[in-house]
Amino acid sequence: MPAGRGGHTFHNQEETELAASVLAFSATNCSDETARHLGSGCGYPAPGFPSSFNYGPLFRIGAFTFNKPMLLATICAAIVVIFFWSAFSKPKLVPKGAQNLGELGILFVRDQILRPMMGKRGDGFLPFLVSLFFFIWIMNIMEIIPVAQFPVASEFAFPVALMVMVYGTYNYLGIKHQGLGGYFKNMIPRGVPIGILGILAPVEILQYIIVRPFTLAVRLFANMFAGHILLLVFTLATWYLLSVGIGLLWSATSFLLTVVLTAFEMLIQALQAYIFTILTAQYIGGALEAEH
């Protein structure tokens, strides 16, 4: 299937191109995307949605199909569990090896994310935040691991599932610590004249109930989705432009950009995991606080 095939007109145009290429090169097969090159007349196989995000089932259990993103998420969870298990199953007073690395990670989450947002009484949420941070980070890193090469969070359901967990946690804590009435009362800003309050209150409540969790999930999803497309564009272009002549120079430029963008994506991956976790800490901290 050629990617990015829009409607019927485009389809026709593509067929015209195909006919032209058949005339010109007589033996070009456009249905094979990996064989497309500059000058073959087939056109650049642009990445897009859903063609670059569709994975067929690896296996089925009844109506349930298990695909590559699910497999990657499972592997990521296993990596996090196994790493921290091996780091802290037999803790030593003087840490070394995996324990050293694990302590570094936990201290980072505690001192950079948890303490500034929640203070000392939020320490009970350290395991939650540590697992959230490392799970998201490893999931994002899958974007640039060879063979995997798919950021799991670019399937919207995965960030939504994480968001539902966070949303449930801070709403439960907010209602538990502030009471149902107090929880909603604390959403509305203080010291506002009653006329303005009537206008602002629905907006504030909508912001807290719907828009805030939605943006939490969308931010992670959109960054990973865009990153995946960005890397695909230049990786595919490197291959597509690879030909004798001037195309070789373009291909080399595209390859250079792929390398630069891979480094850039590594930054984004860590940053998005950090932002998701720090916002979780902030929301839970806000729910624990009776007055804000």
Binding site: M117, I210, I278, Q282, H292
Partner: protein
């Protein structure tokens, strides 16, 4: 609690969207009820205005 700057942008975005969803939705319901189509876009604009006002109210006085 410390409102970190990376979140401030998204909170502002959230206010604008929330205002438009609420007052736009209200306008849509009224326009369906009264069959006056102009009320829906007016509601959207009012929502945008309220969103901007909420942002100014929350961040403009710091």
């Amino acid at each position: 609690m410390a409102d970190n700057s990376s979140n401030a942008g998204w909170t502002i975005f959230g206010y604008l969207i929330s205002g438009m969803i609420f007052y736009g939705g209200l306008g849509w319901l009224i326009s369906r009820w009264t069959h006056i189509t102009a009320i829906f876009p007016i509601g959207m604009l009012v929502g945008l205005g309220v969103g901007v006002f909420a942002v100014i109210y929350k961040y403009g006085r710091q």
